[in-house]
């Protein structure tokens, strides 16, 4: 790849980790100086660091579960019989398959949830910056508009009988 | 008098619009008079324009239309276009008059006349446009009305013929459009006057060659140049009389006019490169048409094929790239328009009376049964074969003559050969026309049922054409004098 003269040469226009001197991706702070370098370390520590603990805990938890199941395997008897392995229907022989066709209303529940809960995603970023200086009544009004739309959705669903379940 | 130029297009357009929007009941009976009035007004306008031109005042309308594509509403007439404008206005008026007779009344006259007027707008627009794209637009405007006239009012096989007509022409237009745009982009202007003055300066050889190929290729379909002619006989056979008259009388001229007006002066290097090819194709067309005519049994088809031959002469004239040759071509153009227009009118008249144009079924004896009509057919035929003293003679004769002395950059030997073959073609023309006369006009009528001879209305309609043939034949300077100056101006003095 032949490189011409690099005309733009600032941190603003080019990502700091991109070094124009070599081909391919190289994550360095070559062009941005020490501040970017610091940011990179902060990135690793602050970003992955905190979630590393979450990951470790997950590993610990998974280990706990695995150990428990392993120990359980040693402690418990294992004598399966066809009767035991038959699906439980209050002592009667199971009729039909185990998976029945489910009612469509569950789909409606899912749909309602999907719409509203995902919209709520926008609430959190807003909620955190809302109190900062410079944001005020206008920001609030904007969120009222948003809430109004969500509310209109609920009203619509209610009028359409989605919220009646019997 | 720029207003005359604008009126030239506005009058027929207004007529067409009036007919289109007027209620059906009203227009049903007034369509034909309205049509005649509009065409006649246009003819008057054209004559006035000619008078003005003769007095030496030049008309030129130039206004920006669509700056985005550099399209200007640029109209003007000069010696090259003026005769064609007059011819168009005359033929259209005659057609409108011809329709007035109850025998020729078309079905759905409102639509028919509206289409006729639209056709006139396109034809006149093609001849007066001085902007490449405007020329193209006008060129395209003609297509749909002509298609509709053939497909809606034609005879047997009208739909396939009409479709063939429009598809052939459109393929040509598409190619031509690319050529025009190429020239416009390369030169930075679409103004024909400016481009012609430059005479190819500023256009690279490649652009000129490619542009000429595309533009002339597109026009060649319209002319039609052999071997792109196969739509023509079918279209003529299927078209109603009026359609045939305009098709042969005007539409074919649009192709040759385009060559003279655009391709040759604007792209001289391209023209020089392809002129021999055009010449060869033209001569092939002459001979081919002659042979084909000998084998025709249908009168209408015969006249149609003869058009291919006549246009071959025009092409030969143009291909010499000399002032003489091009003047000859323009003269032949006019002559062919008048003569073939007359012939198609006559064939239409025969068809009205006998219900057929098949020579075998007509059987002969036309002169005996309807003496005046027969005489006129004879007149038309001898005019067409180029009898000295009639219009057909000068154009074709001069074209052959010009071929002996083509432009300096062209291969002289080839042109001498072409001239010789074209001479043979002239003989063939005479042969098939005489055969036709023998089979149809002379002899004893097959049936004894009395046929009405030429009516007064027909006489009125046709006599201007007869007069034109005589005038142009006896006094060719009336046309050549007009064209010559313009041709020399256009080509630079050659």
């Amino acid at each position: 790849m032949v490189r011409g003269e690099v005309s733009i040469d600032s941190c603003v226009s080019r990502p700091p980790w991109w070094s124009g001197t070599q081909d391919g991706l190289r994550f360095s702070a070559g062009r941005c100086g020490p501040s970017c370098l610091g940011r990179r370390d902060a990135f690793v520590d602050g970003y992955f660091g905190s979630y590393a603990l979450v990951g470790l805990l997950l590993v610990v938890g998974a280990g706990f579960v695995a150990v428990s199941f392993a120990a359980n395997r040693l402690l418990r008897p294992h004598r399966p019989t066809p009767e035991k392995r038959r699906g439980y229907e209050c002592g009667l022989d199971p009729a039909g398959g185990g998976w029945a066709q489910s009612h469509v209303r569950y789909y409606v529940f899912a749909f309602l949830y999907l719409i509203f809960a995902v919209d709520a995603v926008f609430l959190f970023p807003w909620a955190t910056v809302f109190a900062r200086p410079g944001f005020g009544a206008v920001t609030l009004a904007e969120m009222f508009v948003f809430l109004g739309i969500v509310a209109a959705g609920v009203v619509y669903a209610w009028r359409k009988g989605v919220l009646t379940w019997v | 008098m720029n207003v005359l130029l604008v009126l030239l297009l506005a009058v027929p357009l207004a007529g067409a619009l009036v007919l289109l929007v007027s209620p059906r009941g009203w227009a049903q009976h007034r369509a034909l008079p309205v049509g005649l009035a509009a065409t006649a007004l246009t003819l008057l306008d054209a004559v006035a324009l000619a008078v003005h031109y003769a007095r030496g005042s030049r008309s030129d309308v130039d206004a920006a239309w669509i700056p985005a594509i550099g399209l200007r509403f640029h109209l003007g007439v000069d010696g090259i276009s003026l005769p064609l404008v007059l011819l168009t206005a005359l033929l259209t008026t005659l057609c409108a008059a011809y329709l007035l007779r109850s025998a020729a009344r078309p079905a759905r006259p409102q639509a028919f006349v509206a289409l006729l007027l639209l056709l006139e707008v396109g034809m006149l627009g093609t001849f007066v446009a001085l902007d490449l794209l405007l020329f193209f637009v006008a060129f395209e405007i003609v297509l749909v009305p002509m298609y509709a006239v053939i497909a809606g009012w034609g005879g047997a096989d009208r739909r396939p013929s009409a479709r063939q007509f429009i598809l052939y022409t459109l393929v040509g237009s598409g190619v031509m459009l690319v050529g025009l745009v190429l020239v416009g982009v390369a030169a930075g202007t679409l103004d024909m006057v400016v481009l012609a003055q430059r005479g190819g300066a500023g256009l690279s050889h490649t652009v000129q060659v490619v542009g000429f190929l595309a533009i002339a290729g597109g026009l060649a379909v319209k002319i039609p140049v052999w071997p792109l002619h196969s739509w023509l006989p079918d279209a003529h056979t299927a078209a109603p009389t009026v359609g045939s008259v305009l098709l042969a009388g005007v539409l074919l001229k649009m192709g040759t006019y385009g060559l003279v007006r655009i391709a040759v002066p604007i792209l001289p290097e391209g023209a020089a490169a392809f002129a021999p090819v055009l010449g060869v194709l033209g001569v092939v067309g002459i001979v081919y048409a002659g042979l084909a005519c000998l084998g025709q049994s249908n009168l209408k088809r015969l006249v149609a094929f003869s058009s291919i031959g006549h246009m071959g002469f025009v092409l030969l004239g143009i291909s010499t790239l000399t002032a003489v040759g091009i003047n000859a071509a323009l003269f032949a153009n006019i002559a062919h328009g008048v003569i073939t227009g007359l012939l198609f009118f006559l064939v239409g008249g025969i068809s009205e009376r006998y219900g057929s144009t098949d020579m075998g079924r007509l059987g002969g004896g036309l002169l005996a049964a309807t003496p005046r009509l027969g005489a006129l057919v004879v007149f038309g035929a001898v005019a067409s074969l180029g009898l000295p003293g009639l219009a057909g003679f000068w154009g074709e004769g001069l074209a052959v003559l010009a071929a002996f002395r083509p432009a300096a950059e062209l291969p002289g030997g080839l042109y001498v050969a072409l001239a010789a073959v074209a001479g043979v073609g002239m003989v063939l023309t005479a042969a098939y026309l005489l055969v036709m006369l023998r089979r149809v006009v002379y002899g004893v009528p097959r049936s004894s049922v009395p046929m009405p001879d030429m009516s007064r209305a027909e006489l009125l309609t046709w006599s201007p054409l007869v007069a034109a043939v005589l005038v142009a034949g006896l006094w060719p300077a009336v046309v050549l004098g007009v064209t010559d100056g313009a041709v020399r101006a256009l080509l630079g003095v050659r």
């Binding site: 603003v12 944001f135 009028r159 359409k160 | 594509i69 459109l170 190429l182």
Partner: protein
């Protein structure tokens, strides 16, 4: 979320965003009206009133922007975050945005009009239909003003998602549902591809703002991955505008959807897709033009050739229109394909973009008109579902006005006088392509124009043919459809005589 302490509050130019906002508000109102007073007539009237209001706002905006000669930019990057870079506004109403917004709005209103009789006649739910339609149009109106990838993506989805639902809205029609599913899956996958491309571009350019991307992404400084991202974005848009080879969903969907929805797909959705494509390619990825322009050129050539050739064989009206719209997409793409050499020639860029946009606008008008007539014939006349071309025989004899209007639309689509608007549009495209040095593409355009002519002409001829012996009579013309046809005819006649307003350079403003 943890930005600098400086305020990130952006000023909002309410007039600039008024049209899409009004449409969105109207959509909500329609939904509530439907919830409380479910009468089709009331709902449709409300929706139309909303569209009219938005149209008024758009006209005011147009007068302001065009009259003042100054584009209105809003949602700009605050000065504190801007640094030394360009202005970076998210929403810029420039002439380009005004024009395409207006077109989308008009096409949306027309689709609404087309739908009115169908809603009354069939079991199409009025409220949902109007709501979805207005929402989609709101997205399409906002999209041409978007100047960063986030806005563009959101607007594009705002156009797409309601359309999926619209296509499937005829709930008891299996064909409708199947076509909706086909379209949905294809479109969703293409969105994902496009988004992945966007994520790569973002990573390499460091910004979502098109003007910043343009500065950061130049082939000399960006790695090959940027080209990959750009191509992926292009693929995504290829699906949206149904360019060959990403077109396969279109014919089935057009044929399966209600006619009004097919009109939305063919016009509103396509206008939005092209607006986004132009913005992204020209303003954002300009530096990479040598990479993407040849691809676009190939897409254009393939689209028109395949579209026209397949359209030749169609016997169904909607399928024919679908293939024709694929072919027309090729014409719109062609000038963009000639953009490779725009680096040092800003005037060439202007010309090519103007050609593309001009064609798009005229395409929108003529296609809307054609669909209006199909809506008149199709599915309104009992016993004639308007899907067979032979069902149009004799239209010009029984309904001369509609027949002539339709013939005019077809002539425009074909680019044949009297459809001068279509002819000029094609001339502009050919001229621009030749100017861009792509003669071969111009020749392909010209040849395709001729191929296209054949089927448009064949259709137009049927209108004037005597009606088939067993053909059912056409029904009466409903007023909403008549209005739509009249508007399309008026617009096209106007543009046939005076196309300058559409073909003149509708300059794109990058930053505002």
């Amino acid at each position: 979320m943890t930005g600098p302490a400086t305020t990130a509050v952006q000023g909002v130019d309410l007039l600039a965003i008024a049209p899409p906002m009004l449409l969105a508000a109207a959509a909500l109102v329609v939904l509530l009206v439907e919830a409380f007073r479910p009468a089709a007539r009331l709902v449709a009237t409300t929706a139309l009133a909303g569209a009219g209001l938005a149209l008024a706002a758009e006209l005011v905006l147009a007068a302001d922007v065009l009259g003042g000669g100054r584009s209105r930019a809003t949602f700009c990057l605050p000065a504190a975050l801007r640094g030394t870079g360009p202005a970076s506004c998210s929403y810029v109403v420039d002439p380009f945005a005004v024009l395409l917004g207006l077109v989308a709005l008009l096409a949306g209103a027309a689709a609404l009009l087309l739908a009115v009789p169908e809603i009354r006649r069939t079991r199409l739910p009025a409220g949902e239909f109007c709501f979805l339609l207005l929402t989609a149009v709101a997205g399409a109106v906002a999209l041409p003003a978007g100047r960063d990838l986030v806005t563009l993506v959101v607007c594009l989805e705002l156009v797409s998602l309601p359309v999926f639902a619209l296509v499937a809205l005829r709930r008891y029609d299996g064909r409708s549902t199947e076509s909706a599913l086909t379209m949905f899956l294809v479109s969703v996958a293409s969105t994902a591809v496009m988004l992945y491309g966007i994520s790569l571009v973002y990573g390499l350019a460091g910004s979502m703002y098109l003007d910043r991307i343009a500065v950061a992404l130049n082939p000399a400084a960006a790695p090959p991955a940027a080209a990959v991202g750009i191509v992926l974005v292009l693929v995504g848009f290829g699906f949206k505008v149904s360019a060959v080879p990403f077109h396969t969903w279109a014919p089935d969907t057009y044929a399966g959807a209600p006619v009004a929805v097919a009109a939305v797909l063919a016009v509103v959705s396509k206008v939005a897709g092209f607006a986004g494509l132009v913005l992204v390619l020209v303003l954002g990825f300009g530096g990479f033009a040598p990479v993407w322009a040849p691809l676009v050129a190939v897409l254009a050539a393939a689209s028109m050739t395949v579209g026209n050739l397949v359209a030749l064989r169609q016997r169904g009206a909607l399928r024919l229109l679908a293939w024709s719209s694929i072919a027309q997409a090729g014409y719109v793409l062609a000038p963009l394909g000639a953009l490779a050499g725009m680096a040092g020639r800003p005037e060439l860029r202007e010309e090519l973009v103007a050609a593309s946009v001009g064609y798009l606008v005229i395409y929108a008008l003529m296609t809307t008109g054609a669909f209006a007539v199909v809506a008149f014939i199709g599915r309104i006349t009992p016993g004639n579902d308007g899907t067979d071309l032979d069902g149009y025989r004799g239209l010009a004899r029984t309904h001369p006005v509609v027949g002539v209007a339709f013939a005019f639309f077809l002539a425009c689509l074909a680019g044949l006088p009297p459809g001068l608007a279509g002819l000029f549009a094609k001339v502009v495209v050919v001229r621009a392509v030749v100017d861009g040095g792509h003669g071969w593409l111009a020749v392909i355009v010209a040849v395709n124009t001729v191929i296209g002519l054949y089927y448009y002409l064949a259709w137009a001829v049927r209108l004037f043919a005597p009606p088939a012996a067993d053909g059912a009579a056409f029904g009466a013309l409903r007023r909403p459809i008549a209005v739509a046809i009249a508007v399309a005819v008026a617009g096209l006649v106007l543009l046939s005589v005076f196309p300058e307003p559409v073909l003149a350079g509708w300059s794109l403003t990058g930053t505002g």
